[in-house]
């Protein structure tokens, strides 16, 4: 496969140096790292690399926490044990306790539930509505596309936080309401990704060939366009989930996320900032958790995207 694309590529800006005999045997850090990655590849049997599996493992862990939060052997996330107040990690509590003496680990695990639910729902809403609109716009073009793009541009031009605040004020502060609000906010981005991918697919001659066969529009959309657009959109969805987690925390910072006692990562960070001077772990632990999660989502999303990139030729 790589040759054709290789032929077509322009000279790389920084051409890659090639030395004699760049084989495994020769010493040097570069080739050691190379043979290590080859070994890992042999163990895992696929070309994803260690980073991918670490990230995917972390995401799996977060998902498991969210799913089994109530049955996991952790303390009650809402139970204030005043004596433990602001205790550091690895003392009374594994990951320390917060300003009210609640167990941080338990709050993280329960908070994962909120993060997962919000990001899954929001992304699904955005993907379904935005994705469909984008595909239709890219396929039919014309007036519909122009109108849709104009509306989307207006939405995108709005400061998103203001929009979100307005939506939350309007729909409410329950878990579902927040998910819905963030999901709606996400529609324009999805519509754009889906439209761009559709535009490039529609130019392909297999779409023309299907029309020459007498295929109906619906059939073309479902059989020829959708399968080629859905994977890039899904991969984008993973990256978007990471952003949703961040958006939730921003809302929490403003006190507008899910109502108070319910633990959320954003809420924990917001609360921790009060204790930054004396007990930085209260803000740090949820921050690191969130950081790792968002990083993993982006990494896995990117990797999957390059993996699913349509293979169109072999020679």
């Amino acid at each position: 496969m790589p040759i054709e694309s290789g032929n077509r590529r322009r000279t790389p800006a920084e051409p890659l140096p090639v030395r004699r005999k760049t084989s495994y045997g020769s010493a040097g850090r570069a080739s050691r790292a190379l043979s290590f990655s080859v070994a890992v590849r042999q163990v895992f049997g696929s070309g994803f690399g260690t980073g991918f599996w670490l990230a995917a493992g972390w995401l799996l862990l977060v998902a498991a926490c969210a799913l089994f939060a109530t049955v996991l052997p952790v303390r009650d996330p809402l139970d204030p044990v005043i004596v433990n107040r602001l205790n550091a990690p690895f003392t009374t509590n594994w990951l320390g306790a917060d300003g009210l003496g609640r167990d941080m680990l338990s709050r993280l695990v329960h908070g994962a539930r909120v993060s997962v639910v919000i990001s899954l729902t929001a992304v699904s809403i955005g993907m379904l509505i935005g994705g469909s609109l984008g595909i239709l716009a890219g396929y039919f073009r014309g007036r519909f596309e122009r109108a849709l793009m104009a509306v989307l541009d207006v939405i995108l031009a709005f400061p998103w936080l203001v929009l979100l605040l307005a939506l939350v004020a309007f729909i409410g502060q329950s878990l579902m309401a927040i998910s819905l609000a963030i999901g709606l906010l996400w529609i324009p981005a999805y519509a754009r990704v889906a439209r761009a991918n559709t535009l490039s697919v529609v130019q392909r001659e297999y779409v023309l060939a299907a029309r020459a066969m007498g295929a109906s529009t619906l059939r073309i959309l479902l059989r020829e366009v959708l399968p080629n657009v859905i994977l890039p959109v899904l991969a984008y969805g993973l990256v978007a989930m990471g952003l949703v987690v961040i958006v939730e925390s921003a809302l929490a910072f403003l006190g507008l996320s899910v109502e108070a006692p319910q633990p959320t990562w954003g809420g924990m960070i917001a609360e921790g900032k009060r204790h930054l001077a004396v007990a930085p772990h209260v803000a740090l632990v949820p921050s690191i958790t969130m950081f790792l999660t968002v990083l993993s989502l982006n990494y896995v999303g990117d990797r999957l995207r390059s993996r699913f990139e349509v293979k169109e030729s072999n020679l």
């Binding site: 790589p2 032929n7 077509r8 000279t11 051409p15 090639v18 760049t22 020679l315």
Partner: protein
Amino acid sequence: MTDSQHQTQKLPLLRVEDLTVRLRGEAGIVHAVSDVSFQLQRGQTLGIVGESGSGKSVMARALMGLLPRRATQQLDGRVSLAVDGRVLELLKLSEREFRTLRGPRLAMVFQDPMTALNPVLTLGVQIAEPLQLHLGLNKAQAMARALELLAQVGIPDPEGRLRQYPHQLSGGMRQRVVIAIALACDPRVLLADEPTTALDVTVQRQVLDLLLALQRERQMGMVLITHDLGVVANRADHIAVMYAGRIVEYAPTSRLFSAMRHPYTEALFKSVPRLSDPSHTRLHAIPGRPPQLIDPAPGCAFAPRCPNVQQRCRRETPALTQAGDEHLHACFYPIGSREVGA
């Protein structure tokens, strides 16, 4: 090349010895180029002909030091370039040293003019850039030279074109611009990798004629890579036919056409449609397709498609052997040999 001092006169401009390239592909190690040797004199054109996947582009990239580093498993052999009375061993150079050669010494023209130019820069900037970089010209000088170059490659209204973007040009025009960029620093060796495959016949003819005229005028050495024997027929001094990563026949052009020995060369020759044939003449297609170069089996790579194949071809790999003055071929039962009973 320690004895080179006595024979500077005869010293080839570019000399390639036993070049071997192995790449890591998805399905395994690809033996893309195996034991390729040739030399190129000043002012000469070497045509390299072969089907797609025969290793032509990989070879050209190896000469330019542009192989994908992470995919290169092995790069062996010797490539010597004679410049300014010195002989440089290209494969031993560091990337930094190599970079100073690309442009003023070695240049390459790529297959697809549509993607070889940067869509967001004007043509003027793209031609002037290497001039500023390598020849140390200032901006105004570089632009003046760019103008000259555009005129040389036959672009009408060069002043206007300097400010245009690649998408405003047709395919043939773009390939001319790519050639102008390649020639900007007056290279000694020009590698043209299927420079006209993406163009249609009339433009192909113009671009080939242009390349040849510039090569003669500047006395460059040119390697002209193509899959179509017709393209090199009247243009190259020597032709090397490549199959499955190896040179299978090498000869001066006129000799190759008058006395080709390798069955693959003949098969390629016959598959070109000719104007002199009457309509609906059946073409001589080569059955099957070139081999995948992963774990090549022993024996002649052309055996599965060869009309002359015998038992021995499947056991042993034929080596390049002399078949006359400057004429080499790698075949046990070449055309015209007794065993074939032609």
